[in-house]
């Protein structure tokens, strides 16, 4: 560890590779199976919900595109933090590391906002006879929501505001969506804690340094993995979800 050359990572192991890094890659392979099982559950249940709402009733692609972009950029910021550290710039490391963690928290903020938004979702249905919106949604509305609509319209208003939210209990889509994205969010949360720990730890002399870049490397691998899982979720759940042909 006393060797100043930060390029040398040869370890005294059979393969010359670091134990922990090997473990991290094996873990990421294993975690692929974890998310695959959740995604498979989501996909085989797609379109099998008995009541609404469906993805198309809730998703806002522009909003999620922004949070996806933020998470992608956090990956860049992460790798720049690592690059700064290997070049010996502790200051650069701190700046990029903090920005990574902040972007991670931003992503989580978006997710919390989105989850809340889904649970309190409402639809406006006009009270006219054979309202097209009502006909469109009729098969998705629960009997309680339908009677609520009729009760509101009976008061003589033009447009009823019908509660059309989704929790994990509402339907299969809610169940599979919240559990899949929730576990991704849990991974992000763990990542943020890890990144912040390293950030604060770096203020202790010698705790984070070019020679000990592996500590950061492992956190970075985990962080990028969380990002690529989101790349899949964004396409498969959000984009394909709103696209009706799928």
């Amino acid at each position: 560890m006393s060797e100043p050359n930060n390029h040398s990572t040869h370890e005294d192991t059979t393969t010359g590779l670091n134990h922990r890094k090997l473990l991290m890659w094996a873990f990421l392979g294993s975690d692929c199976m974890f998310f695959a099982s959740l995604i498979a559950t989501y996909l085989v249940y797609k379109g099998k919900s008995v009541t609404g709402p469906d993805p198309i009733d809730l998703f806002s692609i522009p909003v999620t595109s922004v949070s996806t972009f933020v998470l992608l950029m956090s990956s860049m910021s992460m790798v720049l933090a690592y690059a700064a550290l290997t070049k010996g710039s502790l200051k650069g490391f701190r700046v990029w590391m903090l920005s990574t963690a902040i972007m991670g928290m931003t992503f989580l903020g978006f997710q919390v906002f989105e989850f809340r938004d889904f649970t309190v979702n409402e639809v406006k249905i006009s009270c006219e006879e054979n309202s097209p919106k009502y006909i469109e949604l009729e098969s998705k509305l629960s009997s309680k929501q339908k009677s609520d609509y009729k009760k509101q319209c009976a008061d003589g208003i033009e447009e009823a505001h019908v509660e059309f939210g989704m929790t994990p209990r509402t339907n299969l889509f809610g169940t599979t969506f919240f559990v899949l994205t929730g576990f991704h969010g849990a991974h992000v949360t763990l990542g943020v804690i890890w990144l912040l720990s390293l950030f604060f730890y770096s203020f202790k002399r010698g705790a984070v340094s070019a020679e000990r870049h592996l500590d950061v490397d492992l956190a970075a691998l985990y962080w990028h993995f969380v990002d690529i899982v989101w790349i899949v979720i964004f396409t498969v759940v959000y984009l394909f979800g709103v696209y009706e042909g799928f």
Partner: protein, 96 residues
């Protein structure tokens, strides 16, 4: 080769360039999404774009392209099996 593990890593310039490509790909994805005339073609196009993003992050940001094959084997064995299981289950549940 192995003890130069970090020295052949790309420069920050490559990282920023990769981020640029990733952003553009995401923009294309979202853009394509609004071209309804594509019909069913949208699914393979979006799939290929996101596989491209996935591969870029893994190869450049996670340095898999620059490091020992063993890491690639460990990761790919999980990733390919995972993909196979998803498709097998979708076929068994007649999701296609």
């Amino acid at each position: 080769m192995i003890n130069e593990e970090t020295s052949n890593h790309p420069t920050p310039k490559t990282y920023v360039l990769t981020a640029l490509i990733l952003s553009v790909l995401t923009a294309i994805e979202v853009g394509i999404f609004y071209i309804t005339s594509l019909g069913y073609w949208m699914i393979p196009i979006l799939a290929i774009l996101s596989i491209g993003k996935f591969a870029l992050v893994v190869m450049v940001y996670m340095h898999l392209k620059y490091e020992t094959k063993l890491f690639t084997i460990l990761f790919l064995s999980g990733l390919l099996l995972a993909t196979a299981v998803v498709f097998a289950l979708m076929i068994l549940f007649r999701s296609f």
